[in-house]
Amino acid sequence: MGKILQVENLHVEIKTELGRIQAVRGVSFDLDKKETVAIVGESGSGKTITVKSVMQLLPSTGSITEGSVRLEGKELTTLSEKEMLKIRGSDISMIFQDPMTSLNPTMTIGNQIIEVLKNHRKDLSRDEMKRRAIEIIDLVGISNPETRFKQYPHQLSGGMRQRIIIAIALACDPKVLIADEPTTALDVTIQAQILDLMKELQEKINTSIIIITHNLGVVANIADRVYVMYGGKIVENGSVEDIFYHPQHPYTKGLLAAVPKLHEKTDKLFTILGTPPDLTDPPKGCPFAARCSYTLKVCRQYPPSFTPFGNHHESACWLHDPRAKRMINEVRNAG
């Protein structure tokens, strides 16, 4: 299967009063047709900025300084704003974290869906657009689509609003759907419904999904592959099975250990001590070095490169280096 989206060596900087934040520092990932890829990481790891740069929806203070984003082989970073307008909402669309604030409160649901069609489906007549909008409200599992069409966002519940946002995103059958924490703001039961809906619609319209989350349960539920981000870099990636059952990077292991388990009785949750690095002055070596329990001298000096573990599973950590392994063995033997 051909790659639908390829991101290579992406660097993004954001100017602030405190200096330039190097929010994304050399991120590469790709997405196959009909595949669901999850980008996982804590707040401030650069995951949202990464996908916003794919859409070129960065805040005015942010810019892509290096790297490439290719949609079916077509470079997006060099496109003009005018050309990007044709891609946004049509080839790539995005759904956001908080359904309560992501819809315009003064515009009817119907008009918010029709707005996308007006921009990208100029072949449709006004009546056809209305029909298509009602059809898609129905498709995302909302009853009485004709009534909902005329209603305003405040008349719908949070779960329904997220369905509407999904409807807007899928109105033009996008090739790539980016979901930025689509379930974080919802009740747990609604979360499961929304994830099921996304999976179901993915089957129907053959779209590829990038889902950003810090919820590993969501990842296990929906993703095929996982990228783990930390400090503006990807530290490990692989299939869901590999990441959950054979994590290699200390950060990934820490994340998994921090998930509360139903069958274990513990008083305290495992936490990763410390805070993420300051990206206005990012660490020279591994971004996780300051918080890692296994830090070596080299970790603080040089960034680790990826070590492959087969089946497209790779991890960027100095511990995987044969020299590190040799040294650890020597220390153990000596001890």
Binding site: M55, L57, E81, K82, L85, K86, I87, R88, G89, S90, S93, M94, F96, Q97, D98, T101, S102, L103, N104, P105, T106, M107, E115, V116, N119, H120, Y152, H154, Q155, I165, I168, A169
Partner: protein, 312 residues
Amino acid sequence: MGKYILKRILYLFITLLIIITATFFLMKRLPGTPFDSERFSQMPPQQQKQLLEKYGLDQPVSVQYLKYLNNLVHGDLGVSFFYTGRTVKDVIFGRIWPSVLIGLQAVLLGLAVGLTLGIIAAWKHNSGIDYFTMVLAVLGVSVPNFVVAALLQYYVGLKWGILPVAFWGTWAHSVLPSIALSFGATAMFARFIRTEMLDVLEQDYIITARAKGLNQFQVLMAHAVRNSIIPVVTILGPIVVNLLTGSLAVESIFSVPGIGSLFVESIKSNDYATIMGLTIFYSAFYILVVMIVDILYSVIDPRIRIQGNKDE
């Protein structure tokens, strides 16, 4: 909605009654009578008494008050003491149109210029036009309109001779007073919409709109402006009333025979009937505009529901 409007109209009458009562008794406490001219004091006592009797001023204030209310219910605002022989209605309607014309033009000009500047300022935040708008906003709020009026007279009227300096006659006479009057309102509108819009532009639904592939102009017009307009509507009420009922300073400077100057003259001459008539007119107009603004809210923002509306 109908029920709501009826209720508001009822409140309008109650409020008016309170205002009429308060104004009536306060006005009677003012020293002097409408007949304080030398001519009146030189009249023989018999004639003075007759005159007071004719206007009912010899009776106790409470009786005068009830009589006034009775006349009012029958639509009679009384006869002016100052403009002899003319009814108050006549006097007011004779002076109202210049004020309304100037006021309306000032409101429209203020809205057009103020909103445009404010929207562009917010859109191009921290740019040259943003700073220009902010400077204008501070000037508009702090420089009194009579200073603007004098400057306009001097440059536009006198030095360049483009428009008439003062007096009333053709439409051209209304231009300078309208501009002078609109200055403060322009600044207020610009400042309010700019502040609100800067906030709205940070909202999530603006990113949603951009993610749909809308261009900046579409995002601005379809999503940002409508959500930023509520504070402007709030101040629109009082501003419309202030401008339409005439500004004493601007009317004096341009010698416009408007309602603002009429009010001051009537107070100076203890013209009871005219004071009352104008007070009722001002108040009723104000309350009506506030009511219209309240109804406008629900038109602009569907989240603001009006009581008695069974939609939700």
